[in-house]
Structures are given as C-alpha cells and as structure tokens.
Point group: C2
C-alpha cells in the first residue's frame, strides 16, 4: 500500500529500501529519457523488483509521477519563499516563469499536473494538489506584498493567477500559429487582474 503522510506505521527497513529503489530507478529513467517515456516495466527491472511490488508501493503509475513531480514543484516553491516578493508585475511574472517552464517541459507532465491539480476525486488529496494549494499561499503573499489591487482577497487573486497561468500553459501547447510566449500572454491577463483599480 501507499504510505502518504499521516498514515500508520510505514516503518520496516525493507519497505523503505524497496520504495527508495523504485523512486531512484524512476528518477534515473526520467532524467535520461523524460517523464513521458517512463515504463513501469523498466522501473521494476532497473530497481530489480517484481512488477507487483511497484503497485504495492504506488496505487498506479500516476501516483509515482505525482510524487516525483510534486517534489520538483515544491523545490520551486521553496525557492520562491526564499527570495523576496517581486516588486512589480513584470518581476512577478519573471519570478513565476521558471515554474511554468518546468510544468510545460513535456506535454505528458502538463497533462498529468492538470489532471492532479484539482485533487484526486478520491478522499485523499494528492501531492501535486497540495503544491497547488501551497502555490496559492505563495502567490497570495506576493500579491499582498506588491503594488497590486487591494479590493479583492489575496487568495482569490492568487487563485486567479493560477487559473491564468494554467490557461497560458495550455495555449502554449497550441498549434503552429500561437507563437506568443507564455510570459507575454500572462501579462495580458494579469494586468487587468492585478492592477485593475489603476494607480498612476
């Protein structure tokens, strides 16, 4: 079974070791071939365990991806919390951009993130969904610290930024015509969203 934070005794050395072997194997494959090329068969072969073992540790392939990708997103958020809040809209977008670029580095990754961002339909909220909540908190802080509109709750504003970011990322995968870079498009949305009761 899958041990997520707050569950009963996930102890037992062997378990942790196997789990680590699986994750290591997966990360190795991902770093050489990308997320989309990961095959469960190859993970278990690399980790030298049986196929069934994989599914004893992760509910499905998505769950492993969820875990690994959320780890990367969390690293970005850690970085965000380190740095000072951006002092204007351009800096705001520039700060955010690397995360958006990671999320769109592969179509597969973006689809998976999208699919998991709204929390699993199940009872348990997944790792990526948690990073989305955390992202809202970070963005809300940025907004609260910056020269942005004050007539709307920072959380709503932050959720809006997230929605616009998703929109931009989705359009990023669009057909030929759409050559507008993500950050340019994002500014198009965020200007009227964050700077609305215009200050001169």
């Amino acid at each position: 079974m899958l041990y997520s934070s707050g569950m009963k005794k996930p102890l037992q050395k062997r378990t942790l070791a196997t789990r680590a072997k699986l994750i290591d194997a997966a990360e190795k494959i991902i770093s050489s071939k990308g997320f989309g090329a990961l095959r469960v068969e190859e993970v278990v072969k690399t980790a030298a365990v049986a196929k069934g073992t994989f599914f004893a540790h992760f509910h499905d392939k998505d769950a492993l991806m969820d875990l690994i990708i959320s780890g990367e997103i969390d690293a970005f958020l850690d970085g965000f919390e380190q740095k000072a809040s951006p002092e204007d809209l351009d800096a705001f977008i520039l700060h955010l951009l690397p995360l958006l670029q990671f999320m769109t580095r592969e179509r597969y990754v973006f689809d998976l993130i999208l699919r998991h961002s709204g929390a699993a339909a199940k009872e348990e909220i997944g790792p990526i969904a948690r990073t989305f909540e955390r992202q809202v908190m970070v963005l809300a802080q940025w907004i609260s610290d910056g020269p942005f509109r004050k007539d709307v709750s920072t959380v709503i504003l932050a959720e809006g930024v997230q929605a616009f970011a998703v929109q931009c990322m989705a359009l990023h995968f669009c057909a030929i015509n759409n050559e507008m870079p993500m950050d340019t498009r994002l500014k198009l949305y965020l200007e009227p969203w964050l700077l609305c009761p215009k200050a001169p």
Copy 2:
C-alpha cells in the same frame, strides 16, 4: 484514415456507412453506460466491424470522444447564440452553468476536455479545441453586450472567463471539504474580473 473538414475525398458510401455505424454504436453505449465506460472492443462489436476498422476511422479512442463531446458542446453554443445576451453577471453565470455541468458530468469527460481544449500538440486543431475558440467568441459577445468593464479587450476578458470556468470545474472535483457550488465560486472570480472599474 480520419476525415476532418477540409480534407480530400471522404466520399464512398461504404465509408460513411461504417463511420456512422461506429458513431451510433458509441453514442448508444455512452447514453447507457456513460463516456468513461466506453470500450473500443464494445464499440466495434456493437457496430459489427473489426477492431482495425475503428482505427482506420479514428486516430485513437480520444479522437472519437473528441468528436462526440465537441458535438454536445456545440449544441450548447448554438443555444447560447439563439438566446439574447445575459443582462447582468448573475444571468451571465446562469446562462453558462448548463455547459459547465455537462463538462463536469463525468471526471473522464472533464479530463478529456481539458486535455483537448488547448488544441492537439499536433498540427491539426481538434473539434473540442474549436469549440473552445467558439466559446470565446460567444462569451466576448456577451461581455460586449452586457454591463461589463470596457477597459480591456472583450476577447481577453472572455479568455479569462474561460480560465476561471476551468478552475471552478477542476475544484468541483476536489475532495470532501469543497462544498462550494460551481456558480458561487465562479461569481467570486468574475465579479472582480468583469466588473472591475466598479459602477454603482
């Protein structure tokens, strides 16, 4: 092969007939068991053709879904174009709601729509992606006709509405806690988005 609008001679009676059989079979299955339960095997069995035939008509299962779902969305948009534009924000949301409810009737459907809304990574823009473009046009018209802000391009505003709607639908699938109905949440976003330079 798949004949999308604007391609060469899709004629030949037999082809059209087979294609219709496949779509009919799919719709029959969907109406009785839902989109998520559709199996290609069952479609071809119901349509009394071989499995390979399915893939001669549709690039993959998603392509068929794309076609059928886009048909339903287009029906909503037809309805929207029939009726007069909503005269305030509440009516705006109420008009839109049935479409959002259709899109969220099954998790499977929502995921598929999301995946296809940003246009296939390929060269050809798919049916659902086209409905999204069309939706922007309809929403832009609504916005232009209604008592909404005029300081931003109606197309940008419409794209924003779409982004917020997607956000609300995604959150709709969230875990237990999230009991806020979609329309309530949508209003939370659209009020500051569409009514920003507030009129009394």
